[in-house]
Subunit: 248 residues, 2 copies
DNA sequence: GCCGATTTGTCCGTATGTATC
DNA sequence: CGATACATACGGACAAATCGG
């Protein structure tokens, strides 16, 4: 836990908004009021608010106040779509949040070197030593997601099939002290391949949502490249873009 | 133009990074150095850097420096995928950026009121007066994207099919002074409907990328709800998530 | 339409903590 | 250990937008 004052204020305000203390379309107390209430400077309040703006909870209006844009319906939208690809959340965190039964099957595990094709796609240097892991995620007994991951061995010296079957991120962080700091993702839609049909329950879909992911550790080293292929019904991505506060 | 000092610095650094003055994996000059160079305080430099961190251009490493994570390859990835759904960019801005020929066909235009179903999906109040516009985007002669939009009439009092055929956003901003400040998006993958097959060239795909979008104006009023349906080959979404600098 | 109070936006200078080397 | 660099926090100043009288 970072334990920063602006983080505490951010969480406090976020909770109040989610609980409806500050309802949709209302204005939260002014920055000066909040600063007095939290016993901090206005700048610190503003940092907390900046976080809420980024995540789409509120919007600041100059001369007026800070308006709540969050609605409870946003969190669990209509329909029965179970998974939301949030900001930097692992499969296990996700599964835990939705209290579903889940399982990971490691269908491939090897050590190899990045060839030209992989290097081009992943950003690794050609010839870099990597682990190659392929996993199938099973949710409520249904095989719905397939991950193909490559981990740079210079950052992740030891990795085992057993660790891959649990949460790799938890293992990396706990055992190796490796943390994902930045993550670049690209979402596309692709035709299902023979491998998809072999490993996943595609039902009557012939496409998947494909998320390619480049992860950087705290030293800014690209150490993971993962391509995740999602059953369409189990894919959902939410995002907020804001113009203010952003340099344009 | 916002004309803020930190925005200028942000753009300056961004340009230098894109041009390779600060190459991938290098460290940009320290905050103090930059502050001296730009003739501003360190706080202002930090605001500019915060923007570059959010957008994935750099990553800050405490005690070490600020590392460049941007690579030219990120901008135009391998393959021939033409469209990237960036941050708050209209179809026309996108098309202009890629210098493709494009066209918009308005296939439906009406005024109506939000019923319960639309209200639930969009967030509009039941009974709200709205424009209902359906448009097909044609790129290089191929119908690839279909937009179904609803605009709140209390915010957008006048809208015409002619304006809808041009850029609606340009019209809103220039003629009505309405600006999108916050935009919430959700990406999913859905089966192609009969309407999709009627209007779009689906080739041998039976799914589309679906982006639902809620747009708020500068007063924090939800005034637009749009569902965009993309031909899979012409959909791509890029995103960067970062842990540092974010309250967690 | 003007004025003044309120509120957010930008910017500055400074101090202290923490991590890296 | 000291120097460097980023992280957090404070306090103050002025600008710009909004709103009510």
């Amino acid at each position: 836990m970072p334990r920063s004052k602006f983080g505490d204020i951010y969480n406090d305000l976020k909770t109040k908004i989610e609980q409806g203390d500050y309802p949709y379309q209302s204005l939260v107390p002014s920055e000066n009021t909040l600063a007095a209430a939290f016993g901090c400077s206005r700048n610190t309040v503003r940092r907390a608010l900046a976080g809420l703006i980024e995540t789409g909870y509120v919007q600041a209006i100059q001369g007026k106040g800070v308006r709540v844009l969050y609605r409870a319906a946003d969190r669990r939208p209509a329909g029965k779509v179970p998974f939301t690809l949030g900001r930097l959340e692992s499969f296990y965190e996700m599964a835990a949040r939705f209290r579903t039964s889940y399982q990971t099957r490691v269908v491939h595990f090897s050590m190899t070197q990045a060839d030209a094709v992989l290097a081009q796609a992943s950003g690794f240097a050609v010839g870099a030593d990597v682990y190659h892991v392929q996993r199938v995620r099973v949710v409520d007994g249904r095989a719905l997601i397939m991950d193909e991951s490559y981990f740079l061995r210079s950052v992740v010296p030891t990795l085992t099939p057993e660790a891959a079957e649990q949460s790799i991120y938890a293992y990396l962080e706990r055992e190796l002290g490796v943390q994902i700091t930045t993550s670049k993702r690209t979402i596309t839609v692709e035709h299902a391949t023979a491998a998809d049909r072999l490993y996943l329950e595609m039902d009557d879909y012939d496409c998947l949502a494909v998320v390619t992911n480049q992860a950087f550790n705290s030293d800014g080293i690209l150490f993971e490249y993962t391509v995740s292929r999602y059953h369409p019904e189990y894919f959902r991505f939410q995002d907020t873009a804001c113009r203010s506060r952003k340099p344009r």
